[in-house]
């Protein structure tokens, strides 16, 4: 149970999760360093060199505006990664607060919080996202907010589920017998014991958020063109899949590598921390 602390994480991970971590690390490294490696500006157009095939100069060719596809693919993960990171962090944070609040409060507060969360969950997530984005526009913080609204209730439910058995455990009971305040109990006794659940939740949500953000871009509610973004690139280029396949396939491959990587890593983390991830199903 205390494994995070007393063993070297990397050594104990399964080979597949090591591959996963590697994939994530590689994606992040390429995304961050990529612009220094690829000598083209991802948004610079070049009318003379539109829709060029793969060549020594443009390894993956160019798109209809003559932009280098490799440069765009390499830079295209930045936004997805940033939004996913922020949005996942925000939803896990909000979800944890709500979940522990519900678990540590009396029946009525618990029931109230649960109902409201359920109501938010009952609204189709795409609808919720579209509404929020339509109201506030598609700036980064809005997307983060929108994704958090959709995912925080789900996280809260999981956290509540993890926190409830802890609330009845001997050490919480004994803290209560000492007359400690609820906040102190949550922070000192409960949180450390659901951290593994929260970590896994974070890793798992991250993979969904990446998919969700790309779906939003695809539906035209995400990143604004001409910014490079995988979802947007797929959307922009998909109808030309047969004449300029690289423009669509490169972002698909990049996106899938990242998501597969996050999934593998999350699986490994879950196994390592003893939280069952596959059971969690999906909330999109």
């Amino acid at each position: 149970m205390t494994r995070l602390r007393d063993r070297a994480l990397l050594r104990d991970l399964t080979p597949s999760s090591r591959v996963g971590l590697l994939m994530v690390a590689a994606t992040i490294a390429v995304t961050v360093l990529g612009p220094f490696l690829v000598p083209y500006d991802p948004v610079a157009t070049n009318a003379d060199n539109a829709l060029a095939g793969a060549s020594g100069a443009h390894w993956l060719g160019t798109d209809q505006y003559g932009r280098d596809i490799l440069a765009r693919t390499v830079a295209g993960g930045r936004y997805a990664l940033l939004v996913s990171l922020c949005a996942t962090a925000a939803s896990v944070l909000i979800g944890t607060v709500l979940g522990t609040l519900a678990a540590s409060s009396g029946r009525w507060v618990d029931a109230g919080v649960t109902r409201v969360l359920d109501a938010v969950l009952a609204v189709p997530s795409v609808l919720a996202l579209l509404l929020v984005v339509s109201v506030f526009g598609n700036q980064l913080w809005v997307l983060v907010l929108a994704v958090s609204i959709v995912y925080a209730p789900a996280v809260a439910r999981v956290v509540r589920g993890a926190a409830r058995p802890v609330m009845t455990s001997g050490y919480v009971t004994s803290a209560r017998a000492r007359g400690e305040r609820t906040i102190a109990i949550v922070v000192r006794e409960v949180l450390p014991n659901i951290l593994d659940t929260i970590f896994v939740e974070f890793a798992m949500r991250a993979s969904w958020v990446i998919l969700l953000v790309s779906t939003l871009s695809f539906l035209g509610f995400g990143v604004s063109p001409p910014a490079p973004d995988w979802g947007l690139m797929i959307q922009e280029n998909r109808s030309a899949l047969t004449v300029a396949p690289a423009g669509t396939l490169a972002p698909i491959v990049a996106l899938s590598v990242l998501v597969v990587g996050v999934n593998l890593a999350a699986d490994g983390l879950a196994k390592y921390l003893g939280v069952d991830r596959a059971r969690r199903g999906v909330a999109r």
């Binding site: 695809f218 996106l255 596959a278 059971r279």
Partner: protein, 331 residues
């Protein structure tokens, strides 16, 4: 048992009310109203004013909400601000067509993934297991719009066996929809199965490790029978919430799939209604989706009760809800 259902229905109604209130609240905050959205570039102030008066948009919004709620309780969802037709007609039509792709997708997806998951779990560590697990992993890592796009490319354009889009919209007959439903349905099956397969695999592994599965094996029960009679029913339990979440997702928001295939279902209706700010339509869609959510959760509970005699006892003896079973669940 009946009390449980009634209690669930009660909380379900609260959920429905809260959900439609939330959506109403947000839609109120949307910039622009239906008149402006409809007119777009033609939106001269006079035209907007005329349309607004025609749509009766200037009465109090909250009053409209209360009236709407009253109507909804009797099955009357009002008239669409955009088409001027009763909401109910368009709503049920779209819902029915969504069901046409969703129900086969659910049956096929759930059935297939339960079997595959069971198989992978039972053969843990073998090639079968790795094969199934890798496929599931890849399927859940590719966004569904990519899956849909590839399916269209292959099965509608390169090898034209199925139509790429539904042409007739809401007028499409069941006959034309049937062949048009194949690709959307396949997309849904692929993107939904991955999660259920994984859940089922992990539940199977856990159940196989239980003492009763071992006991059955040490009783001399053949392997296949152990899986079928002792493992399957019990492994299904933790998978049920995953299934119900997926079902709710499927029925509530197949937006992407319906957009790609121009499929005239609930998801497409939803997107259109958001962009036109068709409040009564959005409200009705929300209510319906929330209803599906509530019902699919309820169904999952009932199936769990049917599969697990322990929960039956728990439910009838104490009012302690099946908290534990549900908590581990997603979303």
């Amino acid at each position: 048992m009946i009390r449980v259902v009634l209690f669930r229905l009660g909380t379900g109604v609260i959920t429905l009310l809260l959900a439609s209130f939330l959506v109403y609240f947000v839609v109120q905050a949307l910039p622009g109203d239906v008149a402006e959205q409809l007119l777009g570039q033609n939106a001269t102030p006079e035209a907007v004013a005329a349309l607004r008066a025609q749509l009766d948009l200037d009465t109090n919004v909250w009053l409209r909400f209360v009236q709407w709620l009253g109507g909804a309780a009797t099955g009357d969802f009002g008239t669409s601000l955009v088409s001027g037709e009763p909401v109910a007609g368009a709503l049920w039509g779209a819902f029915g067509r969504t069901l046409l792709i969703a129900v086969p997708a659910i049956l096929l997806g759930v059935g297939l993934s339960v079997l595959l998951g069971l198989r992978a779990g039972a053969r843990r560590g073998t090639g079968t297991d790795s094969g199934i697990s890798v496929l599931a992993l890849v399927a859940m890592s590719i966004p569904e719009f990519v899956i849909a796009t590839l399916l269209v490319l292959v099965f509608a354009i390169l090898v034209p066996v199925f139509p790429a889009v539904v042409l007739e919209g809401a007028d499409a007959t069941v006959g034309t929809l049937l062949s048009a439903a194949v690709l959307p349905c396949a997309t849904l099956v692929i993107s939904m199965s991955a999660y259920i397969i994984r859940a089922m695999r992990s539940a199977t592994i856990d159940t196989l490790a239980t003492e009763y599965a071992t006991t059955a094996e040490l009783k001399g029960v053949p392997r296949g029978q152990v899986l079928r009679r002792h493992v399957l029913p019990n492994a299904l339990l933790p998978v049920l919430p995953v299934v119900s979440i997926n079902v709710a997702w499927l029925l509530g928001g197949v937006v992407v799939v319906e957009t790609v295939f121009n499929y005239p279902g609930l998801g497409k209706l939803m997107i259109d209604s958001v962009s036109t700010r068709d409040l009564p339509m959005l409200q009705a869609i929300t209510l319906l989706s929330a209803l599906v959510y509530v019902i699919s959760n309820l169904l999952a509970d009932l199936v769990a009760l049917a599969v697990d005699p322990r929960q039956r006892a728990l439910e009838s003896r104490r009012r302690r809800p099946r908290a534990q079973a549900a908590e581990g669940s997603p979303a």
